[in-house]
């Protein structure tokens, strides 16, 4: 019996070889075929950086560049690990820690792996913002990451499943991280990562991609707009039974537009609005259909607001305009709870121009008083704004502009009411208002809020070219 069983196994083995040979006979390789020569190494850091070359650590803008070191005093089952010192939020050298590890030279062939894995611990229980791979500061084509990862004070193994390893035949972005102090009251901490490597676990399964968390989203747009499906995920099930959600770059997906003449799909999953009509954008990831979609209703060509005249920079203080350089602004929608209903802000970008779209308008404010300098309009003579009402206008409709000086201090405010006769449906109207016409505005050296108030008489407007100027 014993011998016979071994023979069986060998037969299996030989048959396997025969099959391989047969297959290769049926599919001959052409002369042009070049075999991949990229390194298929999986290790990134074991006791020291592995195969990354000499110039591989690139910090994020605004982060503390010295946050990463090799710690030779501790490691996971070793004496060495990567140490990350997340700075205090008020550290003058950088308010957080974050960087990419990009292999120096040719990318690696990661097609044989299914996850990036590592062991990690922290100086205190802490939630790390983002950890991933595929970010190379070039195209970031196959960026992928997990978010809000809980680290404890003892070593734990973490798994970041690769959304579709078949695409990673030449990848330079080995690892990236971003960690701040939002959850620690601005106080720094340390975490360690060891045994960082790509692995073929085989125990990762049930990939479930999704767009917009599986919701069907509708949006309106204009010819000339570019964009992408900006909420994407793929959730995998691990051997532990745990589900892990990864955020994949658009390039991992295969995108479909129901009407390519309305919305076309370009490189990196970029959506370009090129014609009028309706298009539904859907996607698959590694052959698995992603629930969720984006339906784009294209309203035609966008009629831009009139371009403001050229002015000397000393004669204008711009709050929102592509014609001038804007001052720093806290926000274009303060979302004041609980009474404000208004949605939307500067989220239309078309043909190089930013436009504000306020919807569900009752009132909304543009703020310049929280973290930025208020506007000193002492030398200015006029307030200018372009408004395009996106609905039928009834008599009694109005938009009241309100400017508030010294917000939170000794407030003074001035108002100017635009009545229905001054507004046009779906057309831009320019308002060029002497500041003296804002009744009540006795002081204007610290303007902190510009309110648009309709009391819901008008609910949908575009706004562009908001600025003060001197005649």
């Amino acid at each position: 019996m014993k011998n016979r069983r071994f023979i069986y196994t060998k037969i299996t083995f030989l048959l396997g070889l025969v099959f391989i040979i047969n297959v290769s006979c049926e599919r001959e390789l052409s002369d042009e075929v070049e075999f991949a020569t990229n390194s298929a190494a999986g290790e990134i850091f074991t006791d020291s950086p592995i195969g990354l070359g000499t110039n591989f650590y690139f910090p994020f803008l605004g982060s503390k560049a010295t946050a990463w070191t090799v710690d030779d005093s501790q490691g996971y089952e070793s004496q060495s690990s990567m140490r990350f010192d997340v700075p205090n939020a008020n550290d003058p050298e950088g308010s957080y820690a974050g960087a990419i590890f990009r292999t120096d030279g040719a990318g690696r062939d990661l097609t044989g792996y299914d996850a990036l894995t590592f062991w990690a611990k922290a100086s205190q229980g802490v939630v790390i913002g983002q950890l991933g791979f595929g970010q190379d500061f070039l195209d970031n084509k196959y960026q992928a990451h997990i978010e809000n990862v809980s680290f404890s004070t003892n070593w734990v193994k973490y798994v970041i499943p690769i959304p579709d390893a078949a695409k990673l035949f030449e990848e330079r972005g080995m690892f990236w991280y971003s960690a701040g102090t939002q959850d620690t009251g601005g106080l720094g901490y340390t975490f360690w990562i060891d045994e960082l490597k790509f692995e073929k676990l085989g125990t990762i399964g049930q990939p479930r991609p999704a767009l917009y968390d599986g919701e069907d989203i509708e949006a309106q747009s204009f010819v000339g707009t570019d964009g992408e499906v900006n909420i994407r995920s793929v959730t995998f099930n691990l051997a532990s039974g745990e589900n892990v959600s990864v955020v994949p770059a658009p390039s991992y997906f295969d995108w479909t537009s129901s009407e390519p003449s309305v919305v076309s799909i370009g490189d990196f999953g970029k959506l370009s609005v090129i014609g009028s009509g309706m298009a539904v954008i859907t996607a698959t990831l590694a052959g698995v259909e992603a629930p969720g979609s984006l339906t784009i209703e294209v309203l035609g060509a966008f009629e831009a607001a009139p371009t403001p005249p050229a002015r000397d920079s000393g004669d204008v203080i711009s709050v929102f305009s592509n014609a001038y350089t804007d001052v720093s602004v806290d926000y274009y929608n303060g979302y004041f709870a609980p009474f404000q209903t208004t949605q939307g802000q500067n989220d239309i970008f078309i043909n190089g121009d930013n436009v504000i779209n306020y919807t569900d308008l009752n009132f909304v404010g543009i703020g310049t008083f929280v973290d930025v300098a208020p506007v000193n309009a002492n030398d200015m003579t006029h307030f200018y704004v372009d408004i395009n009402v996106r609905e039928a206008i009834q008599s009694g409709d109005f938009i009241r502009l309100e400017l508030i000086n010294n917000v939170g201090g000794t407030e003074t405010k001035g108002t100017y009411t635009i009545d229905s006769s001054q507004l046009l449906e779906e057309e831009w109207v320019s308002f060029d208002i002497p500041l003296d016409d804002f009744s009540g505005l006795t002081v204007r050296n610290q303007l902190g809020l510009i309110f648009f108030i309709s009391d819901a008489t008008i609910s949908n407007i575009y706004v562009d070219n908001v600025y003060y100027y001197k005649e």
Binding site: K2, T12, F13, L15, I20, T203, G205, A239, G241
Partner: protein
């Protein structure tokens, strides 16, 4: 018997080495029998290859219907299970050469889930033999499929656990790389069952088909998964009477939802969940 185990370990090592080739071999559709290492029972006496579309073959299979109310086990089938078993096509059907048992999340006769449970009771029962099935398992918290045998109860005159229970394969969906094989009898029922688990180190049970089987003879039950014999249970291993030499057992295939063992499904559990059964085969020893 120890010697036998050693052989199998060595074969397993070789198979791992030739992993790629084995994969090609499987795809080629060669008879899976040839890959079996437990083969002292070679005479096929019953098989359902699930080649006829529609309802399962009623010459082989019965159904348990309901939530257990009115049975000896009571509501929850003795385990606090949450499903209502039906024989509707949406819970049990044969398609494309496989039996599909589907656990659904739906309101049905007072239960929040439906599923199916197939039995060969009164239609196919056998003492000893090799019982195996090729199955792709479902997954997720609260999902509890099983391929198991119960001893004939002589028309109700004998009761569990005296009749004996051989769980060829049990699995909970929150541990997708692990199955376990168990026997229950008097003095070793419920949580006291004699059990051993088998874990895949580089694969899962819900992403492909795997073969689950026992080879059962007088005073022994051998458990295997694919090519690996992972346990043997003999009368020495059980703290009570060995009730597996006493008469025929019948086959059960089911997918339970919830219950004491897996716990309840949670928000992350994906429904519906399918258990796919490629075949069920029973062999006997040609010397019997």
């Amino acid at each position: 018997m120890i010697k036998k185990n050693k052989q199998i370990m060595r074969i397993k090592t070789m198979l791992l080495v030739s992993f790629t080739f084995a994969a090609v071999f499987m795809i080629s559709g060669c008879e899976t029998d040839e890959t079996q290492t437990v083969a002292t029972f070679t005479e096929l006496v019953m098989s359902d290859e699930f080649d006829t579309e529609g309802a399962p073959n009623n010459a082989i299979w019965n159904f348990d219907i309901g939530n257990g109310e009115g049975t000896a086990a009571g509501p929850g089938w003795g385990n606090g299970e949450l499903q209502y078993y039906t024989d509707r096509a949406e819970n049990v059907t044969v398609q494309n050469g496989v039996l599909i048992i589907t656990a659904k999340e739906e309101q049905f006769n007072g239960s929040n889930y439906t599923s199916a449970k197939l039995l060969t009771k009164g239609k196919f029962e056998q003492t000893y033999g090799r019982f195996e099935a090729r199955i792709k398992l479902p997954w997720g918290q609260g999902i509890w499929p099983a391929f198991w045998l119960l001893g004939d109860d002589a028309n109700g005159s004998e009761v569990w656990p005296d009749i004996g229970e051989i769980d060829i394969m049990e699995y909970i969906g929150s541990h997708p790389t692990k199955v376990f094989g168990t026997v229950h009898g008097p003095g070793y029922s419920g949580a006291e069952g004699i059990t051993k688990s088998f874990e895949l180190k580089d694969d899962r049970f819900d992403t492909g088909f795997h073969i689950f089987g026992i080879e059962w003879g007088p005073d022994y039950i051998n458990y295997y998964v694919d090519d690996v014999l992972y346990n043997q249970i003999t009368p020495e291993d059980v703290p009570g009477e060995w009730v597996f030499n006493r008469g025929p057992f019948y086959i059960i295939l089911n997918v339970a939802v919830g219950g004491a063992l897996p716990g309840s499904p949670n928000a992350e559990t994906v429904f519906p969940q399918n258990m796919l059964v490629d075949y069920v085969r029973v062999y006997k020893n040609s010397y019997n």
